[in-house]
Amino acid sequence: MSSNLGSMPLRYRVTIDREQCMECERCIENCSYGVFRRDGDRILINSRKCTACHRCLAYCPRDAIMLEEQPCDYRSHPVWTRAVRESIYNQARTGKIILAGMGSVANLPIIFDHLMLDACQVTTPPTDPLREPVELRTYLGKKPSKLEFRQKPNGDVELSTELTPNLMLETPIMLGHMSYGAISLNAHVAMARAARETGTYMGTGEGGLHPGLYPYQDRMIVQVASGRFGVNVDYLERGAAIELKLGQGAKPGIGGHLTGEKVSADVSRTRMIPQGSDAISPAPHHDIYGIEDLPQLVNSVKEATERKKPVFAKIAAVNNNAENVAAVARSGVDAIAIDGFRGGTGAAPRVFRDHVGIPIEVAISTADQELRNQGLRNEVSLIACGSIRESTDVVKAIALGADAVYIGTAALAAMGCRVCGNCYQGLCPWGIATQRQDLVDRLNPDVASKQIANLIHAWTLEITELMGAAGINSIESLRGNRDRLRGYMLDEGLLDILDVKSVGA
């Protein structure tokens, strides 16, 4: 039974300037989606297959390729937009859930862009980071509420408060969790090297730890998700810290699954599941069916690793965020990562990615306020993630109460990702979100790690400058310092929730 719907209009149109083209065929080699092919003496184009990954443009030696979003004149309608209509056609044809990649494309205002940072002028002079140190070193983990000392018989004083293990970061920027399976081994190696070079950490995601990453294990935060893929005592012991994944910003409230097609021999070894089988991560951890079960899981991981490592929990930002964060803080974890609704993903049902969750700005601010109100702020560190795009987002997130941030998409972009949103196809032409060896080989981990390290370094410099301008010389003094923020064109209700004053105030 063929469909009544015909074909969907083109999304992108690719054209070649024939005057410029020298028929070198690099576009054919580079496009893993099969847009280009040779037919006799001509390069033919099938724009329908294009995902706007920009690989062909980047590698055409003659700048001969043009790529445009293809306008399409449906009857204009403010409610029944092109996206809405095309989703209906897709689902009327297939009867299935629509999967989408990367962060939300919903056209909602970005709060970060409506928060202005403050600077010093005459009454208080700024700090000059060129000659005065601006301290960015960050410790993640529990901090004692007070320090106690005892005097030794020889008169020396020593600390008697027992300190819990913390992670030490040279910059408040970490590389977020993306699993091996979702992204390639070369991408993982590149991030791990960059983490080492910049004195920070990276997350393994929920796919286990590939032996190729063992040399960097002191820089890895290993993740324990509901599917428990690749999790055994060896894995737990290798990580510098352990993160329990309870939720994800791109798909709050649901689990995930890596389709059998992507479970290659190497991915199967790392996840410890048979090759070609679906890897299903259910929505809840099956040993957490209520908040009282969370301390049980936290403590079981701590007992298994003899309480030598910090344990993090990652949750998605949702409306009762403050309550969730306070509950998680009381479970004994050392840090809580909160993932905002714009967080990226390899694949999520589109309805979740674009419609479920709350912005990270609100979530981090309400979490920090609630923890302070409950006297718990020193019990946990807060990590903000889900659409941290530039150094100012980092500074604003910290001023709203975060200790550090995780970056995901930004790190991928530093490796070449064009945010085309087609990761779920496993054909990433940049060698990032793929397991196809010829594509994986396109990503040189040495070069990519340098690019990520450059990005972190550049942001770190910008952060010190922004802090210096605000007269702040230590990240500790920026944390939760909402007085260094002002809301521009934000409504009173939102300003109140963020606990930020309006510009001019």
């Binding site: 859930i97 629509i98 428990r228 055994n232 005592v233 679906d278 079981s300 007992e303 298994a304």
Partner: protein, 245 residues
């Protein structure tokens, strides 16, 4: 000569108790008897090696979680999730156990003489030579073998009729074998019933014999009994659920 160490758990919090057990193993003990256990959690959590730990009393939750190698024998009952995410080794429980027994277990054996709670064998999975085995002497509750991705889950129903429903919801690997007939209505979506073949029986017979030996039962009637075998209807239960943007 086997070195035995006895630890008195009376009034001891689980962290120091686990430290004592770890220390005993490091010092070369091959058998550790832990007396007066009253609900201490995480016993044997993350332990490696091949020592035997005898738990006299009632074990708390997450017994032998992430364990890789040792044998744990519990004289009484165990709280929830014994064998949670276990790699290898063996857990023998003479009483009953709580919910989520053998959750995400990847290898080794968990034998429970009595009953288990809800979600037994949930998300058990196998990898190459690591094939987890959960045997329940009594009966299991609802959601048995949910999301099961590998291994063998055997329920002998020695003490009465099993009332579990929603058996094998989301199962995509492994097998659930239950003594007697199982009403079709008790199976969840994604699971299907098959008769036990002679090869299947030959495969599970050594497991039944080992179980019977551990609990002093006569294995022959159990080896020769009628069983229902429940397997995934598909190895890719969600393959048809999604389309691309």
């Amino acid at each position: 000569m086997a070195k035995q160490v006895t630890i008195d758990a009376k009034g001891v919090h689980y962290t120091p108790l686990n430290q004592q057990i770890r220390k005993a193993i490091e010092d070369g003990a091959d058998e550790i008897v832990v007396d007066n256990v009253l609900g201490q959690r995480f016993i044997g959590d993350g332990l490696r090696g091949n020592a035997t730990i005898r738990v006299n009393g009632v074990a708390g939750g997450d017994l032998a979680m992430f364990m890789s190698g040792p044998t744990v024998i519990v004289s009484g009952n165990a709280e929830h999730a014994p064998g949670n995410t276990m790699d290898s080794g063996k857990v023998v429980i003479h009483g009953s156990a709580g919910d989520a027994v053998a959750h995400s277990m990847r290898g080794g054996k968990v034998f429970v003489r009595g009953d288990i709670g809800y979600r037994g064998g949930i998300h058990m999975k196998q990898y190459e030579t690591q094939r987890p085995i959960l045997v329940v002497g009594g009966s299991a509750q609802t959601f048995l073998g949910e999301y099961m991705a590998g291994g063998l889950l055997l329920v002998l129903g020695l003490d009465g009729v099993m009332k579990a429903r929603e058996i094998g919801s989301g199962i995509h690997g492994g097998e659930i074998v239950i003594r007697g007939d199982v009403d079709e209505a008790c199976l969840a979506a994604g699971a299907k019933k098959l008769p036990l073949t002679d090869e299947d029986r030959a495969r599970i017979a050594p497991v039944i014999r080992e179980f019977a030996a551990d609990f002093g039962l006569d294995p022959e009637p159990l080896v020769n009994a009628d069983y229902t075998r429940i397997v995934p209807a598909s190895a890719r239960p969600f393959a048809g659920k999604y389309t691309w943007e």
